[in-house]
């Protein structure tokens, strides 16, 4: 069971990781109070996932709609991603960077973990179903007019 204190600590680590990435590589500060245009649910969604092993078995998921992700990858790389592979590569690296920063911030805590290669899935009306008893910590941030959602799910 995740206590309120643990939730706050891990959510704070995720917020810090997202801030560090956004400020360093996008030149932008995320808005955790306003997580962008979440009504755009009909847009293609891209999800970066990473299974994490450590004191707990965890799944980290980063979810961004395709339009927002395209803008973020353009800011990171300097030009527009042309091919789906470039967008997927950008999503994988965003997932990798956020996971790496969260790992560093949580070093020494029960939530510390080792990172693994990310997986990327994309599609419209993407359904990801997780057992309702799995505990998840969710952080949403507004960036570049869109929304970035980071979830850390205790899967074991």
């Amino acid at each position: 069971m995740v206590t309120d204190r643990e939730y706050g600590k891990v959510a704070g680590a995720i917020r810090r990781a997202v801030s560090e990435w956004a400020q360093a590589m996008l030149g932008e500060a995320p808005d955790f109070g306003n997580d962008g245009d979440r009504a755009a649910s009909d847009l293609e969604t891209v999800v970066g996932m990473m299974f994490l092993s450590g004191g707990k078995a965890l799944l980290l998921m980063v979810t961004i709609d395709r339009k927002t992700l395209t803008g973020l990858v353009r800011l990171m790389a300097g030009d527009q991603p042309e091919r789906p592979e470039e967008l997927a590569d950008g999503m994988a690296e965003i997932t990798n960077i956020i996971a790496g920063s969260v790992k560093t911030i949580l070093a020494g805590s029960p939530w510390h973990f080792s990172i693994a290669p990310p997986l990327v899935v994309s599609g419209r009306e993407l359904g990801l179903y997780l057992h309702h008893r799995l505990q998840r910590i969710t952080v949403r941030a507004g960036l570049s007019g869109g929304s970035v959602t980071v979830e850390l799910i205790a899967v074991g």
């Binding site: 360093a24 590589m25 950008g90 994988a92 990798n96 996971a99 790496g100 920063s101 560093t104």
Partner: protein, 128 residues
């Protein structure tokens, strides 16, 4: 001078390539540790290796060990560019022979400065 950028992420290699153009270095790229060693084996003009840690297959640390064990490459400066930001990992990489270390996410100016530091360029060599 040629700089070898080793990272499984194309977007990171692109960011690094852009930075190296600022420094007027020629950039070679490898998307795996195995490919990095193959490139090193075929050339003698590489003056710096920028090395990711976590890659599918051979890790950056394994590449670093292989380089330091081979007299052809033992003297080539290596800078780790990685998400592994914990102090014990930084110490480990330096002990294994890395000359510098940059944690992702980074700002490009920080990358430029660390590259300059690693190959012994003075301040301002690249900054006009």
């Amino acid at each position: 001078m040629h700089v070898l950028s080793v990272d499984d992420s194309a977007i990171v290699r692109k960011i690094i390539r852009g930075a190296l153009e600022v420094l007027q270095f020629d950039c070679l790229e490898a998307d795996s540790g195995e490919q990095a060693l193959a490139i090193l084996a075929g050339r003698d003009d590489i003056g710096l290796v920028l090395l990711d840690w976590n890659m599918p297959g051979m890790s950056g640390l394994e590449v670093l060990r292989a380089m330091r064990a081979d007299p052809r490459w033992a003297g080539i400066p290596v800078m780790m560019v990685t998400t592994e930001g914990e102090r014990h990992n930084i110490v480990r990489a330096i002990e294994e022979g890395a000359n510098n270390y940059l944690v992702k996410p980074f700002v490009v100016e920080e990358l430029l400065q660390k590259i300059s530091d690693t190959i012994g360029l003075g301040d301002g060599e690249w900054s006009d």
